[in-house]
């Protein structure tokens, strides 16, 4: 049980909060914000996993998740904006 495992458990707890907010968000905008934080937690957990497993190639998932998180946030907020209220 190294210190990386402790940080990964903390990130898992944050991801549980994010999933709870995705399921029970009062407005649809709250779900978009929760999705944004979910991508943040995924990026940090993948970077920590690359030093936990000692596999450097996992870092390519960090770059992919950065791009995918930005595009997903922009696309979903445009969908939310065009929707009749």
């Amino acid at each position: 049980m190294s210190w990386v495992d402790v940080l990964l458990v903390v990130l898992g707890a944050v991801m549980a909060v994010v999933i709870g907010r995705l399921l029970t968000g009062p407005a649809n905008a709250d779900r978009v914000v929760a999705l944004d934080l979910g991508f943040v937690v995924f990026i940090a957990a993948t970077a920590l996993l690359s030093i936990r497993l000692d596999v450097v190639a996992v870092d390519i998932l960090v770059l992919a998740a950065t791009l995918l998180g930005f595009l997903t946030t922009i696309a979903v907020s445009h969908l939310l904006e065009r929707r009749p209220r």
Binding site: V18, A27, A29, L37, V56, S77, L80
Partner: protein
């Protein structure tokens, strides 16, 4: 224990603590806009601290070449994403918290949708 492990571990722990604070804000803050505030802090400073810590621990060419573009992209794209989410939240009618003083973006009706009627110039 080498000194890069200590420095990188401290940076990764600080970043994870910032993300945990954002999760706490996601749980406790009353409003969509306050939650956007909490998430943006975690997405810039928290993620960048974690990635710099990982890069200090594993300074191989692959890790540095993949993590430095990720850091730059994260720092450049997070403000735009948060701005788009906030604007979409306000336009889709997400409710404000009851402690909000005033709403700068409030407009009574979108009067700019209809163009003014065309009036031909009077003949000389």
């Amino acid at each position: 224990m080498r000194w890069p492990d200590v420095l990188g571990g401290v940076l990764a722990a600080v970043g994870t603590a910032l993300i945990a604070v954002a999760g706490l804000g996601m749980l406790r803050l009353p409003d969509t806009y306050n939650r956007i505030n909490a998430v943006t802090k975690a997405a810039t400073l928290g993620v960048v601290a974690v990635l710099v810590g990982v890069m200090i621990i594993e300074p191989s060419a692959t890790a540095v070449g993949l993590l430095i573009p990720a850091i730059i992209l994260q720092l450049l794209t997070t403000p735009f994403g948060s701005y788009a989410v906030g604007r979409a939240a306000h336009r889709s009618g997400s409710p404000l918290a009851s402690i909000t003083h005033h709403d700068e973006l409030h407009r009574p009706a979108p009067a700019y949708r209809s163009a003014p009627a065309y009036r031909p110039a009077p003949p000389p």
